[in-house]
Symmetry: C2
Subunit: 332 residues, 2 copies
């Protein structure tokens, strides 16, 4: 049988247990040109919360009773396709379920001998791509600049910071809790770390970024975005990648310090990773090389069991995880 998580109803605020239904259905049978994939890992990402709202966005909302949309990685266990054979590993939008069939469109093959599977939905997957294109194309970092990152211990932020270090920037990360801050500095080589749960965030940014901020990579929004705006330099770039502090609110808190953009002739710009699809390959090659050279570390926080989807998903918002949040859904 194929266990699936389907959207039961649209949540107000934080999703609750009855937001989802765990259902079982027959494992799909495939037609000519299709493959059947046994999914090993599901990617849990903050963006998923947005897809659950009945609102126009960059992607249609998940419909009620639909399998919850998610990135995933799995193994071909049956093939009627010329493209992929049994034993191939594919990554794509498989959704929160154990099996999925596809004609292979929008799936791409990965090599489990080059990196562990979860890395392909983390640093070498969407979060890594988001980091790479966000910091280069939108952030336009230059050597010697100060880069501040919120959600810095997360799947995207941790990669952003390491790339900025590789490129010769001074890198400061904001994260929740001492452990994460220690991780940023001791494991990832950040120059500074700010625990937003402790003390005044404005003071902390001033202390850690004494010459101001050239690039702010924002994953969280809210008060932290305002605090960052208060310290931007001339011609700063603010990359709007996400706003996890706001996803469960009915009314979004707008940045009341946005007029710093005027004073500092600065720019705030949004990004969506899908726009860079044609360059994923080149980015994955470059990041893979950095990983081999030991310059870029990938960290996944892996939980098990599709029936634990709900409580694992909530770790995105409680911050109770480190690096890329992954759910193992296959049963051996």
């Amino acid at each position: 049988m194929n266990k699936q998580i389907r959207l039961a109803k649209r949540p107000e605020g934080l999703p609750k247990k009855d937001t989802w239904n765990l259902v079982e259905e027959e494992i799909p049978t495939i037609e000519d040109g299709e493959v059947l994939i046994k999914q090993h890992y599901i990617s849990l990402d903050p963006a998923m919360r947005g897809w659950m709202n009945d609102a126009k966005s960059y992607i249609p909302p998940v419909q009620i009773n639909e399998v919850m949309r998610a990135g995933s990685i799995g193994e071909v266990i049956e093939s009627k396709s010329d493209k992929y054979k049994v034993g191939d590993y594919l990554s794509g939008w498989g959704g929160v379920q154990q099996y999925v069939k596809t004609n292979g469109d929008n799936w791409y093959q990965v090599d489990p001998r080059l990196a562990p599977l979860p890395v392909y939905i983390g640093t070498l997957g969407m979060p890594g791509m988001t980091a790479y294109f966000g910091i280069f194309r939108v952030g336009q970092i230059k050597e010697g600049e100060t880069v501040l990152i919120s959600g810095a211990a997360g799947a995207v932020g941790s990669v952003v910071g390491q790339i900025a270090k590789i490129k010769g920037c001074k890198v400061v990360g904001i994260a929740g809790g001492e452990d994460k801050c220690r991780y940023l500095i001791e494991e990832l080589g950040f120059d500074g770390a700010i625990d937003y749960k402790k003390g005044n965030i404005y003071d902390a940014i001033k202390r850690e970024c004494p010459v101001g901020i050239d690039v702010y990579f924002d994953n969280v929004g809210g008060d932290i975005l305002d605090a960052a705006l208060s310290r931007i330099n001339m011609h700063a770039r603010i990359v709007i990648c996400g706003a996890i502090s706001q996803y469960n609110r009915n009314v979004v808190q707008g940045p009341s310090n946005y007029l710093a953009l005027l004073v500092k002739r600065a720019r705030m710009e949004g990004m969506v990773v899908m726009d860079y699809a044609k360059d994923y390959k080149q980015a994955a090659f470059e990041m893979g090389t950095w990983m081999k050279e030991g310059k870029l570390k990938s960290k996944e926080d892996i939980y098990e069991g599709i029936e634990n989807f709900h409580k694992t998903f909530l770790r995105l918002f409680s911050g109770d995880k480190l690096g890329k949040l992954v759910l193992k859904v296959s049963e051996d």
Copy 2:
């Protein structure tokens, strides 16, 4: 004697009568290298409100007891300078006073035979330059795009809209009251006008910009900025030129729809006109040519008497004026 308006104390919210002192002092005597200017017109601009706050900005605040900073235009009535002779007309930062002496630095000569003097502090002065560089360099308009402008009947907005029309854009202006809206369409050739005092601004923008907004030029901030964000197109540019609705508030209302930047991969960018000083001449030439050809209309709303400074200044915030607000301070 030289009548002057000096800053008496920093206002909370809207300036009151006791924010200012009207004082008289001796007309200054000039030294070698200096000229004495009899000021004819003072420019009244929303930005002046910001200069009154004791806050770091792109320019130092006006100090208590200092002559209020303002752009101005006047005639040289005495000269010990090689650069300028009696009878020359100069524009610069003369402040709110009737006479000023200067060595000529940061002043530039204008020709009253080519355009009436007030035009040189309006369409051919800072507001016109702001419009020109804002819509070209930051807004990056392209033919066929939809351009929405707030404060559209003002000194900056009215020029922005006319330039965008010249460049083949569809132009919609937001202004307060039927008269201003009629003026935008009938006098300035805008394609649409929205009276923000009447009806729902979200509905009105949807009606007037049915295919969305490519460039939004914001002079007002607040709810109108949020409404504009709700209708931006992919890769839209939002020019943050000012936020007159917020200048008298203690806490600025941040744009709660700012995540539209992410969804639409759009950009919000601030600007300050001084950055483009080296290209003013070229811009003035181009705009002067458009004026001669009848493609660009300049509108000044001129009030008289330095003693009326306070109540005239408040017209910036009540909206009770049309086009560039100017105060005539010379006595004939």
